[in-house]
Amino acid sequence: MGLNVTSRGVKTENEDNPLEAATLGSLIPHSVSIEPLIHFLWKEKGANMKENVASTVVFILLLFLNTNLLNGQSPPGKPEIFKCRSPEKETFTCWWKPGADGGLPTNYTLTYHKEGETFTHECPDYKTGGPNSCYFNKKHTSIWTIYIITVNATNQMGSSSSDPRYVDVTYIVEPDPPVNLTLELKQPEDRKPYLWIKWFPPTLVDVRSGWLTLQYEIRLKPEKAAEWETHFAGQQTQFKILSLYPGQKYLVQVHCKPDHGFWSEWSPESSIPIPNDFSMTDATVWIFVAVLSAVICLIMVWVVALKGYSMVTCILPPVPGPKIKGFDTHLLEKGKSEELLSALGCQDFPPTSDCEDLLVEFLEVDDSGDQQLLAAHSKEHPGQGVKPMHSDPDSDSGRGSCDSPSLLSEKCDEPRANPSKFHTPEGLEKAEKPETNVTQPQGPQSTSVEGKIPSLHASGSQSSTWPLLQPPGLHYSRSSYHSVADVCKLGLGTAGAASTLLDKTDTCALKPSQTIETGGEGKAAERGESESFRFKTDQDAARLLPQDKTPLTSAKPLEYVEIHKVSKDGALALLPKQNEHSGRAEKTSTPETSKEYSKVSRVMESNILVLVQNRRAQNLAPFEEPAKEAPPSLPQNPAAVDLASFPAAPSSCRLQLGGLDYLHPTGFMHPFQ
């Protein structure tokens, strides 16, 4: 028997359970065939009628529930408010994202309350913003107020709420894009053509009252290009583009931003084709440039053609072949050496003693093998005053500028020209002093010469020490010697105050050149001090010779004074230097053909010859190494040597006397170290 299960009931043969049948039917709305089950149940019917009923009911109920669960119905998931925006700072809209809806129709409500209020409102408008949105119109919008907004999702099974979102309309302003973007190609007569872009602010934004201030940005590109070209337009609502590629279609967009807000979306594209003849009127410029450059090229070619050769020689001068003046190659070929050499201007070869002019005479006084006295050669360049010690292996150094005869000679000239330069009078005096101890009436004497600085100080008014005068005990192991300044410094240092000198400068004034500077007294001393014992190169010496602008060349040719004759009583007569710097023993102002050095007053420490000049009671600086002495212009005017006396500049010249002197640094260093 087939059971027809209908809602009306189950027709059964057995009419004992009409109720049961009806219940069954009502409970099972589906047309699920449960024949086998009922069949089974009916089978049992006879045995456990009542229990069967109960279990059946339970069973069916469970079935019902199961089917419901299989369908996925549940309370709604948590929604989320993901965006709130205001297009004009007068209204705003919030959008939410629903969570899982639980399979049942879910109802969403938005509730909010405002900062400072207690009661909760519901969203006034769910429609305007689209689905899942809430629109707050002007009435419901307050600026500078925080809204606390929540969305509730409800369905049959339950409900859930989103997290509250705190919204202040002030900071969520994002306008619509600008509208009415128009493009226009303008080609005025006398100006370059351009693209004129115009637009209007978005309709909702109130710019006129100043409630919002918008700034715009446009971008454009040729249709096929990949990148946009962006331009900022400020607050204006138009823009001109000048540089465009002709023959292409351009796309243009614009967007805007409020003064404190977000950029809007880009407006829809506007396009405009650029005609092909949209060219610059720069053609004329280019033509002009081309013609000008052609003309210039022509001129250049012409010039080169005409003066090519001379230009080439100018740029690439010919390398001169070896040539000796007066040298006649033919003579050489012929093998006549005498003629050849005479052509060269050379006298007998080998040279004889007649060539006095050309030859250098050395006066060598070798003590312990190191010292040399060098006679200055008149031809020497005055600026050189550095004389290397021959004996020194390391002939370098410190050719004392003080010593350089050239210096001295220069100084000689100087005073005439520039009396003021000779601040060194004292120095000069002093420099001489030690040497000229003998000659000076005051007789600073050899004791002072001995180089005790104090003693030197003691010696009269003259500035104290001429450290250069350190006794010859100095070893000359080192050729280098310090400039006078250095020595001065040494002397000053040890002497302590050496201050009778017009301060240190005086002592160091021995370097005539140094003191040449106006007011250079101090400077000289300072100079000397700064260079303590470091006579590196001749440049130093050059430096020490302020007025001597010519840098001292390192390869110092020695300056020699030609010894004219040696008189019978041992005086060396020296020929002055022929150039202006000559007159080492004299003032240059009165160049003499020769200066007579009457005698050697004494020999100090075996390496200093103190010569006494005939003309005046000046002592020549001994031709010893570092001794550089300023010949005292007047023994009577020691320290007080003032510039005024210098015009005669004897002292400077006197210095030159000592031009050949070398100050050996080592000797001076010892006492001070």
């Binding site: 705190y166 009252s209 100043g210 409630w211």
Partner: protein
């Protein structure tokens, strides 16, 4: 007597007539006219003053905004300060317009005095803000420099506004109304959370008030200088 009476009547009538005509001629917004002396210089310099004031207020708000964002990012993440910073600004006692319509209905002299009130209310807090930020542990340079700059510019803006008021309504006596700030103890609390929240709140209120002032000034500028046609 009759003459006198009639002349008196005539006088009063005349007065009445004048009054009525004045009222009729008055604009609907019954505010005092600007530049009563009518000098051209007044108009021109007022424009410059407003331009400058707007630039300053815009700048101050930019700085406040950056400062707040920096602080929020650095110190306030995950602390839920926003939930507590409700209705906690000391200037809320000054009743100011809350939207455009309200602001447009306020007369410009009233609006100007409101602006001045808010600016004055911030003198003291800004000063203490600078001091306290300096004392913060690892005081961030970006926040400190902005705080100093804001304090400086606020003073300048106040001066400018006073000049504007002096020119727009010369001789009008003004009540110096402003709110007193009493948040200093919170800024100096030992408890870090409380102290940080006090800073957060102060910066949050500063950002808001600077925006308010900026908006009002821009409204006023367009209204007064450009006749609502910016």
């Amino acid at each position: 007597m009759d003459n006198k009476g009639s002349s008196q009547k005539a006088g009063s009538l005349l007065l009445l007539l004048l009054l009525v005509s004045n009222l009729l001629l008055c604009k609907s917004v019954a505010s005092l006219p600007i530049c009563p002396s009518g000098a051209v210089n007044c108009q021109v310099s007022l424009r410059d003053l407003f331009d400058r004031a707007v630039i300053l207020s815009h700048y101050i708000h930019n700085l406040s905004s950056e400062m707040f964002n920096e602080f929020d990012k650095r110190y306030a993440q995950g602390r839920g300060f926003i939930t507590k910073a409700i209705n906690s600004c000391h200037t809320s006692s000054l009743s100011t317009p809350e939207d455009k319509e309200q602001a447009q209905q306020v007369h410009h002299e009233v609006l100007l005095s409101m602006i001045l009130g808010v600016l004055r209310s911030w003198n003291d807090p800004l000063y203490h803000l600078v001091t306290e930020v300096r004392g913060m542990q690892e005081a961030p340079e970006s926040i400190l420099s902005r705080a100093i700059e804001i304090e400086e510019q606020n003073k300048r803006l106040l001066e400018g506004m006073e000049k504007i008021v002096g020119q727009v309504h010369p001789g009008v006596k003004e009540n110096e109304v402003y709110s007193v700030w009493s948040g200093l103890p919170s800024l100096q609390m030992a408890d870090e959370d409380t102290r940080l929240f006090a800073f957060y709140n102060l910066l949050h209120c500063l950002r808001r008030d600077s925006h308010k002032i900026d908006s009002y000034l821009k409204l006023l500028k367009c209204r007064i200088i450009y006749d609502s046609n910016c």
